[in-house]
């Protein structure tokens, strides 16, 4: 890049930084108030701001994050984020739907957001988001909000903006469930943005454990064998999974025993759902470690790697030593961009 371009880039970054100084505009503040009161369209519009890839949205994301941090007394919710992933066809959506119904029944004061991710077409870039048809959630019930998202050709079962949307939803709801696209041999990235990861499998998938990378099986805190429509099938599957995990010497991340981390459910016959729900509520109660900082760091590094590669990452380590590490995600993103631009100017 010629020097002049770097200069103009630096100027542009400076103007964005200047724009970030402005407080949150009144219109968005109203939107936020309504969203916190769980009005659906305002929530949806805010999600769009956290999804969109342009400068305006970046500035707004920053302003909203800062505003939420500054008004933590009013915006007190801090959701537990459950990542729900699993093999294609394991019935993740139906299970999520039934789980929500069980929560609404037993935890009537809890607010829940579901973010369901479907794959985008390699060819057209568009996506068919069909998870809504597989859930029968109540209508006009403020306690549960459902949103679909396209993976936009990102690997790891999530989209580019899933992390950002999670940041918002965490502050608006009590519980956030993120349902990824079906995974096979790919990495389970959802663990990086969730407080608790659930892997959903089909019956008799136990002996398939060996076909999956051991790395995947190490990730989940909780295992669910869904579609256990018959008792016999459920017992057999649980036994198989248990045996396979032991054989592969996989230590389940959950502090509890392995036995207590495996659930057998049937979304169609509504079996085992309440037990899973109770388990996840207990997890929520016990949750002590604040993972927000670690999650943010992971996704900041991921962004740097995608934008600047491995060299960018080593530079980031170098820069971090010399600058304080505070502010919103957007500020950090911008600070890094400026540092890179300045660095390159110096080089040339």
């Amino acid at each position: 890049m010629p020097l002049s371009k770097h200069h103009s880039l630096i100027k542009e970054l400076e103007s964005i930084q200047a724009a970030m100084e402005a407080p949150l505009d009144a219109e968005t503040r109203t939107l936020l108030e309504k969203a916190y009161a769980l009005e659906k369209w305002p929530i949806a519009q805010l999600i769009s701001i956290f999804e969109r890839n342009n400068t305006d949205s970046l500035i707004k994301r920053h302003a909203i994050s800062q505003y939420l941090a500054a008004n933590a007394d009013t915006y007190t919710r801090q959701a537990t984020v459950i990542g729900l992933t699993g093999t294609p066809g394991a019935g993740k959506s139906s299970l999520t739907g039934e789980l929500c119904l069980s929560l609404l029944k037993h935890q009537p004061d809890m607010s829940i957001a579901v973010l369901a991710i479907d794959p985008s077409s390699q060819e057209s870039g568009g996506a068919l988001l069909g998870d809504r048809t597989r859930m029968q959630l109540p209508v006009n019930d403020k306690r549960v909000f459902f949103r679909s998202q396209a993976s936009h050709l990102d690997l790891g079962g999530m989209g580019k903006s899933t992390f950002h949307v999670m940041r918002l939803l965490r502050r608006l709801f009590d519980l956030v469930i993120i349902e990824t696209v079906g995974i096979g041999q790919s990495e389970i990235e959802v663990q990086r943005l969730s407080d608790h990861t659930v892997l959903v499998m089909q019956p008799l998938a136990g002996d398939q454990v060996q076909f999956m990378k051991a790395g995947i099986m190490e990730v989940p805190n909780t295992f669910v064998i869904n579609k256990c429509d018959e008792d016999e099938l459920a017992r057999k599957s649980k036994h198989l999974l248990n045996a396979s995990l032991k054989l592969a010497k996989i230590h389940v991340r959950n502090e509890e025993s392995q036995e207590q981390s495996i659930f057998m459910t049937s979304a169609t016959k509504r079996r085992g759902i309440d037990e899973l729900m109770t388990h996840l509520m207990a997890v929520r109660e016990q949750q002590q470690v604040d993972q927000v900082a670690a999650q943010e760091e992971y996704f900041l590094n991921k962004w740097i790697q995608q934008a600047y590669g491995e060299f960018g990452l080593s530079l980031a380590e170098y820069f971090n030593k010399s600058s304080e590490d505070s502010g919103t995600f957007e500020q950090k993103e911008l600070r890094y961009k400026s540092q890179i631009a300045n660095f390159l100017t110096k080089l040339s």
Binding site: K40, W41, I43, A44, Q45, I47, S48, E51, R52, N53, N54, D56, S57, G89, D118, S120, S121, E123, S124, G125, G126, A127, L128, L129, G130, R132, T133, R134, Q136, V139, N140, F145, F146, R147, S148, A150, T268, R270
Partner: protein
């Protein structure tokens, strides 16, 4: 006539030349309410029609009484509403049940409709063993193509087997179900898929009957003999002739080899037909008269594979619901074919034809291989649950649409020879289309209220309680359903009780993972617009597609969803049987740029009102544009536009990418003012 040339003559047992009796002439009919439909049936019978084919409205088909919110826009639209035994009595007033052959197009609630029919016969003192007819009752094709299912597959199969068991012992001439490949072809099935999926359905039912083990060997053979089919016939009529011959041969082989049926009479492939509506065009609709005639050839020419009953669509079905005159015109076609021509005088015309035999063998080979594949996957129910068959149909439909656009498949008036003199037929005083009288629905609701007020409430509640209990046990539900009918239980109550016991089912939509092969200049233009949109706004255009109301014909909505993805949209596909509230909530939660709805049942005026009311309530009426697709009569366009519908697409708009182009323009206008 020389002595030796007799191969073209059929002889009776006395050695005299004979000819065949014609098939049963039917007209699929029913509308408005029981009074109007009763009048229609009686006049059709007077015109020489020899059987009844009852069309029921969507609330009745989906198990809702007429006073349910979701029912109101649909009362009497695509058929007659039936709420209780009192309605049934009026529908068949002055029609002798023991002399009728009555076919009912009913699926999710077929046990209920049969129970009403039997209860009516018993109250009239007619011997129920004399009742003849068919309940369609093919739930697999409902999950795949037609959408009036209610319960999960296993429970639906149980109800079907209950009916076979009851009918064989009590109503021996009743066809408890009817395997339908008709709707599969409408949904895009190729002849091979039609053969394979329909025969798989029959195998699924018979396997379930066998598993229940309720019949001895002789009874089971008779039960196999009760399996009948409802088939479609399209424009490629030579292939259709072969398809029907393949059906007959395969059914004979399957019943013999898989089920050991010895009596050839019970292995016979018995089928009724409605010829293809999918190929009928909205453009130059008068051409459809020829198409209907040609499609009729496919199912009548072969004596060895001739239909038992035939019903023809009307020439203007792509425009709206047909009027009585339109139906009469189709009936006349059948009468001319059967009585004016010499068709029925000859033995089979194609025996010994190398061409036909080879084509039949080819279809059979491919169909068997598909059947074996599905059986290996776990059978028909499993293939519904995994979405295998549904995806295959959506893919075939997508391919068909592609061929229409690129001209590989010629349709006169649609993609070739599109200019022509306007038809005088559509310029009648009523615009050539049928309208349902709005006040007639109130009469139905009044009758329902009267029945509820007059009935013995204790008896009705006791019957419902028993129904719920027996549903959870493995008892045959026919008897208790007949008791419910006599106790004046309503359609909604019967269905709700079983919904409670079985749960409701939503099958896979089949649209995910589908790719279109459309490549055209229009596609390039649309994708450029999408790219520009992304550049300007930082995200892909978002669209929600769904079908409000009870109409389950989802092909159009599915194709639009797949096309939108092909164009580069993020599409939220929400499926069928949605309320206006469902659709608006999804649009708000997903923060979409456009709402696309599809309607074929004639309820578009009422449902768009509901939709805009709901948008208004949420302050989004002017923010989210709405587009509409389906069978929408031209005279309704102005009022729909006035209500706020931004674009209307009909079967004329078969070029999916120019539809997407229009939708992109709607979005851009909304965004940029």
């Amino acid at each position: 006539m020389s002595e030796k040339n007799t191969a073209h003559i059929m002889f009776d047992k006395d050695g005299k030349p004979k000819s065949d009796r014609p098939w049963i002439f039917r007209t699929y009919a029913g509308h408005t309410n029981v009074w109007a439909s009763n009048e229609l049936y009686r006049s059709n019978l007077a015109k020489g029609q020899t059987g009844l084919s009852i069309a029921l409205d969507l609330p009745t088909q989906c198990g809702y009484s007429s006073d349910h919110d979701i029912a109101k826009p649909e009362i009497g639209k695509v058929g007659v509403p039936i709420n209780s035994l009192d309605d049934m009595a009026i529908l068949f007033d002055n029609i002798p049940l023991d002399q009728m052959n009555t076919s009912m197009t009913i699926n999710g609630t077929s046990m209920w409709l049969l129970s009403l029919y039997i209860a009516l016969a018993e109250e009239q003192g007619v011997n129920i063993a004399d009742l003849k007819g068919t309940t369609q009752n093919d739930l697999i094709k409902e999950y795949l193509a037609r959408g009036t299912y209610i319960f999960p597959p296993e429970d639906s199969i149980r109800l079907i087997v209950d009916m076979y068991e009851y009918c064989l012992h009590n109503v021996p001439s009743w066809n408890a179900s009817n395997i339908c490949s008709y709707h599969l072809q409408e949904a895009g099935a190729t002849p091979v898929q039609e053969l394979a999926f329909a025969l798989t359905t029959a195998i699924t039912i018979l396997d379930a009957v066998k598993e229940r083990n309720c019949f001895n060997e002789e009874e089971f053979e008779r039960c196999v003999g009760r399996i009948s089919y409802f088939v479609n016939a399209g424009m490629r009529f030579v292939e259709e002739v072969c398809k029907m011959r393949a059906f007959c041969e395969m059914w004979d082989e399957i019943t013999q080899e898989r089920y050991g049926v010895k009596n050839p009479k019970f292995r016979r492939f018995r089928y009724g037909v409605q010829v293809n509506s999918l190929g009928l065009t909205e453009e130059q609709p008068e051409n459809n008269a020829w198409r209907i005639l040609i499609e009729t050839l496919g199912v009548t020419l072969s004596r060895n594979a001739r239909c038992r009953a035939l019903q023809l669509p009307a020439w203007n079905e792509a425009l709206s619901l047909p009027r009585p005159w339109d139906q009469q015109w189709s009936l006349r076609l059948q009468q001319i074919m059967a009585y004016e021509t010499d068709l029925l005088e000859y033995p089979d015309l194609f025996d010994g034809s190398h061409v036909i035999e080879s084509k039949v063998a080819d279809l059979k080979e491919q169909a068997y291989s598909e059947i074996n594949k599905i059986i290996d996957m776990g059978g028909g129910v499993e293939a519904v649950k995994t979405g295998y068959m549904k995806s295959a149909l959506v893919a075939s439909q997508g391919e068909r649409m592609g061929k229409l656009v690129n001209g590989e498949q010629v349709v006169v008036g649609k993609n070739r020879w599109t200019d022509g003199i306007e038809s005088p037929l559509v310029n009648d005083s009523d615009g050539g289309i049928f309208m349902v009288d709005a006040d007639a629905a109130q009469k139905t609701i009044d009758a329902l209220n009267k029945t509820r007020a007059a009935r013995d409430e204790t008896r009705a509640q006791a019957a419902l309680k028993r129904l719920g209990e027996e549903a959870k046990q493995s008892k045959n539900l026919m008897e208790v359903s007949i008791e419910c009918a006599k106790a004046r239980v309503t359609t909604g109550e019967w269905s709700d009780t079983l919904r409670e016991a079985f749960g409701e089912f939503r099958p896979p939509t089949g649209v995910e993972g589908q790719a279109l092969s459309i490549e055209s200049e229009t596609l390039d233009a649309v994708r450029k617009k999408v790219d520009a949109f992304i550049e300007q706004h930082g995200y892909r255009p978002r669209m929600v597609v769904g079908k409000p109301g009870l109409d389950g014909h989802s092909n159009g909505a599915e194709m639009i969803a797949v096309a939108a993805r092909h164009a580069g949209f993020d599409v939220i596909y929400f499926g069928i049987r949605l309320s206006a509230v469902d659709i608006v909530q999804s649009a708000l939660e997903e923060n979409v740029d456009v709402i696309g709805i599809s309607l074929l049942s004639g309820s578009h005026n009422e449902i768009t009102d509901q939709l805009f009311d709901e948008l208004e309530k949420n302050g989004a009426k002017d923010s989210i544009p709405v587009i509409l697709g389906g069978i929408i009569p031209t005279p309704d366009f102005d009022s729909l536009h006035a209500k706020g519908v931004k674009r209307i697409f009909t079967p004329k708009d078969f070029d999916l990418m120019s539809v997407m182009n229009d939708i992109m323009d709607v979005i851009n206008t909304q965004k940029n003012g």
